[in-house]
Amino acid sequence: MKKTGSQILLECLRLEGVETIFGYPGGTVINIYDDLMDFPIKHILTRHEQAAVHAADGYARATGKVGVAIATSGPGATNTITGIATAYMDSIPMVIITGQVPTPLIGNDAFQEADLIGITRPITKHNYLVKNVKDLARIIKQAFYIARTGRPGPVLVDLPKDVQIATTEFEYPETVELRGYKPTYSGNARQIDNAVKMIMAARKPVLYVGGGVTLSNTSKELMQLAELIQAPVTTTLMAMASFPKKHPLSLGMLGMHGTYYANMAVTNSDLLVAIGARFDDRVTGKIATFAPHAKIIHIDIDPTSIKKNVRVDLPIVGDLKDVLKKLLGKLGEHKEDISALVDTTEGWRQEIDAWKKQHPMSYKHSKTVIKPQYVIEKLRELTRDDAIITTEVGQHQMWTAQFFDFTQPRTFLSSGGLGTMGYGLPSALGAQAAFCDRQVIDISGDGSFQMNSQELATLVQYRLPVKIVILNNNFLGMVRQWQHLFFHNRYSQTCMELPIDFVKLAEAYGATGLQATKPEEVEEVIRKALDTPGPVIMEFKISREENVMPMVPAGAGLNEMVLAS
């Protein structure tokens, strides 16, 4: 039987196992929305297309599945751009469907036309303009395949309205044939042998771990490796939840707002094993003084990540799961050498423990004003281990990374690469849609929250009980911090002068609003929020000019940390 393009699209989504999609209807996707009424796919109507993409992204990060978002042509499609770029920078598997004007009108500056293929080319792993309904099933199959394999990423399918209406026989291809796309999964055996030799020869090894560990679900293998060779582990923001911070080998986060001991360990190491990380500038600081004494092993599935920013002594291209398993197997053949290694590196771990004691992560407590770090610590104390935490971008994000002790993978969703304010609330929405029974909490600042606060409506409409923490300092705090440190306290346009009544705002949407202005109210507000059904805003009036410390100034070396302001 013949099917229309829009039916074929939905049939393909169903066959890909898609249960929930996020989107916003419009003129060039109206056929898809009409057919959606007859399909067993749950659709969540966000209040902005950017939020639909972030929600699909949060869904993907929390579940590991491909997130799906849909938007109409022109402004609907251009509204997705920030969401797509966010997912691209953090390698999140997603398929974004955009409507397009009918093929005869493409290029005519038609109503609600925009060249999405051109606009999204540099921010997608791949994109497609479907010109013939006969190609549609193959393209959707390829889009999902490309999105979730290799180094994952967003794939956009631009679907003209006439292609949605056109009919053809539907057949979903069973296999994908792409002669130009063959990711390397299997790590080279000789390179792995060399890695074993380098590890055995190390005296001051550090494992530097990035988001690839989450994407490839290799936290278990990472733990085995770290414990086997007793090597300290530092994570990037993207790998925050992949290695428990309470573990004795954990160094916490490295880089600009990393711990003193992580940055000291990297600077003094003689072997740095980079695992699914990409040596971002916020991690390395000044390249010339980054890990100056270390040999570097870089394991990554994406060859372009290797030797892009730093010199690498031993590259290993492959899937982390494959490479780490092989590496563990090879190391396991040298039991005696490993116990010798563990003995000889004991001094290194003691050196690190001394740094930990010297400058632990800390902040000045207060009995009169609420400290943001205190809110984060209390929140951790009162939430379950599997609670999913999302953040926006800024000071609150760094405090969360520094003071929330994550223990399980895929429980920390944050825009790492692009640094997108407004990401946290819609991504929490997506995560909650995937896991209705888990605690999902967006930790936000007053600035970021207002970038997508309209999504309160979506939360209430779909009964998604996301809890929102607003650390309110009436500032764009991170920029204010830079102005304080580097621009002589000239607070240009960073004071949010209009005080917002966030309690009333919550109530306007039919959610619950709570507020704490004193430290002794913090715990009660959190407890009450967690016990309240439905979405809740918890507003904490925090010390206004608190800084995120330690800090490596932009362009400085990791050893040039400022410890306190």
Partner: protein, 164 residues
């Protein structure tokens, strides 16, 4: 340093913009670029001349490989290859210079492909340096217009690059 690479890509809509966009987006240089269908008409073969140190070239080839539509990259750096470019030159040819122009054409085994009372259009094929030389010699006669195809290259010897 100058590098010549051939890129075999899917002969599809938008692929050229992906390749060109990759170069501009990452700050790589394109000195010349020529594209046409390959032996297999589903494949386009691009010849790109670029400049950069070894690290830049490594990133260029890796990034090109990363494009889904890229089937094969051939980096001719340090390899034995044949390089040919075509130039067409419209040169002033009046009474005093017509004979000299023809002599230069003759020396370089070029061809006059269009003649008017005041101009010749000359076709010349060879290595880019040969085209440079012809252009330099004709310049004093008065070059009105010049077009160069950018080089295309093939490796020497019986070895061929297949798409599998």
């Amino acid at each position: 340093m100058k590098h010549t690479i051939s890129v075999l890509v899917e002969n599809e809509f938008g692929v050229l913009s992906r390749v060109a966009g990759l170069f501009s987006g990452r700050g790589f240089n394109i000195e010349s670029l020529s594209v046409a269908p390959a032996l297999d008409p589903t494949i386009s073969r691009m010849t790109i001349v670029t400049t950069g140190d070894d690290q830049v070239l490594e990133q260029i080839t890796k990034q090109l490989n990363k494009l889904i539509d890229t089937i094969k990259i051939i980096d001719f750096t340090g390899q034995d290859f044949i390089e040919r470019e075509m130039g067409m030159i419209k040169v002033t040819a009046e009474e005093g210079t017509r004979a000299e122009v023809l002599r230069i054409v003759d020396i370089f085994r070029a061809k006059v492909v269009d003649v008017t009372p005041r101009s010749y259009t000359i076709e010349v094929t060879g290595s880019p340096s040969k085209i440079d030389a012809v252009v330099e010699l004709l310049r004093p006669m008065g070059i009105k217009e010049l077009v160069r195809s950018g080089p295309v290259v093939l490796g020497r010897g019986p070895k061929v690059w297949r798409n599998s």
